[in-house]
Symmetry: C2
Subunit: 236 residues, 2 copies
DNA sequence: TAGTGGTCTAGACCACTGG
DNA sequence: CAGTGGTCTAGACCACTAG
């Protein structure tokens, strides 16, 4: 198997939670029980449970066990999961600009590297809807260097990140984000169907990829009245 | 020692990075080198390095090593670190309301539990400055049940979380957050020295503590013009 | 190829939780 | 008290990176 054992067990447990075999408040099998059930050692069992904790499915407590947690379903945007995976509700996407080659002329707090500037910039822009209501404008910039032909094809399952992963073997390994509350410009206000000058959330993102020195830059304008941006976080 | 070995090594390496012994771009000693240097096994060395990665100090790459990362110094607020620890710049704090006993009457998307409602509510409010400029209004609510006498004492080193930890042995183990862009009310605008109606970032937080069912509720109003809220995040 | 981190085994002792 | 997770040892094999 190429997929690590802990990952298999992690996904197995996750599916059982999602199917309802383990409900909110239930305890998963203890580390020792997982060891005998899957014929693994505690290191592997712990890794699977720690990952589930990171993802917010369970809370682990010393002396007690791993308890299934209630998950809030506002946009879990501040993770690198991407929009489509993060939202449970009905999501639609409309391209404002399909992927096209441009020059590097975006104005974010993050700046492209000199190396990236040497190649052309691939740009696309999308408008995202939840329950048929526009909630987010998204602009994306990346160096075309590592994604040749990107502009000539459809997205894998409508997902940008899935396309990167499956067609170019590029994985997202992290992100840096900056958040600001700003007044909506006329253009953004029109797209999000709010008044010009209304407060919107502006998020600039620099995604780190599995290719060193190769980044993806994004900006989001979010209408947070009905759908606040959510985030949950665990330590230990 | 009560402090785990991996934690000691993590802090040791962190201090060396902060002192400049390891600069941005440098590689930390490999896992094997740490093993012999500290007389530990790889499990322990890995744990220390993984924690440093979580905190954003290093990037670990298979086949290469642990490289010191540039840390952006906007407010790393979306972690549970708390304000004083997260910001490098000069920070001042002014109490708008010192800790006092009140009834539960806050109106956040998070609701106190029935158990919490049975005891009185401890409330305090602070205004935070960076470089003598007001940037954040912070309101906090928690059940007085687990923090008797809180209102009668000073904070440990000015830090709310340190006070909880050292005086009441309560640790923060996670948080859930919701972010919205809103128009500043007259009161908030006055405190943050912006115009009434100006966009401000509103963050509501439910902190999970080491006491099951015991939470801390906060709301923040942030003026993000000069100091955007920052966040960095890593997977794997 | 040598060196790195990723995964895993098979144990051990400890601290915490609850009855 | 029994059961849980937290920490740690002492190995092993593998996949990835770079010269």
């Amino acid at each position: 198997m190429n997929i690590p054992r802990y990952k298999q067990i992690q996904e197995d447990l996750k599916k059982r939670i999602q199917k309802g075999d383990y409900k909110v408040g239930d305890y998963l099998p203890s580390e020792h029980e997982l060891c005998s059930a899957f014929t693994i050692t505690r290191t592997t069992a712990r890794k699977a449970l720690e990952e589930l904790q990171k993802e917010g499915f369970i809370i682990r407590q010393h002396g007690k066990g791993s308890q299934v947690r209630e998950r809030r379903d506002s946009l879990g945007l501040l993770t690198v999961k991407g929009f489509s995976e993060a939202v449970a509700q009905q999501v639609e996407t409309e391209f404002l600009r399909r992927p096209e080659l441009t020059s590097w002329d975006f104005d974010l707090s993050f700046k492209p590297t000199a190396r990236e500037m040497k190649t052309q910039c691939l740009y696309f822009s999308r408008l995202r809807y939840i329950d048929h209501q526009p909630v987010m404008v998204e602009d994306n910039w990346l160096a075309v260097e590592k994604v040749p032909g990107f502009e000539k094809q459809e997205f894998v399952e409508g997902s940008f990140f899935k396309t990167l992963s499956q067609r170019y073997l590029i994985e997202i390994i992290g992100s840096e984000q900056e958040l600001r509350a700003i007044a909506a410009s006329e253009k953004v206000a029109g797209l999000l169907q709010v008044k010009k000058g209304a407060p919107v959330l502006h998020i600039t993102v620099k995604y780190l990829t599995s290719i060193p020195g190769y980044y993806i830059y994004s900006q989001l304008f979010c209408q947070t009245d009905q759908f606040p941006i959510g985030n949950s976080f665990f330590v230990q």
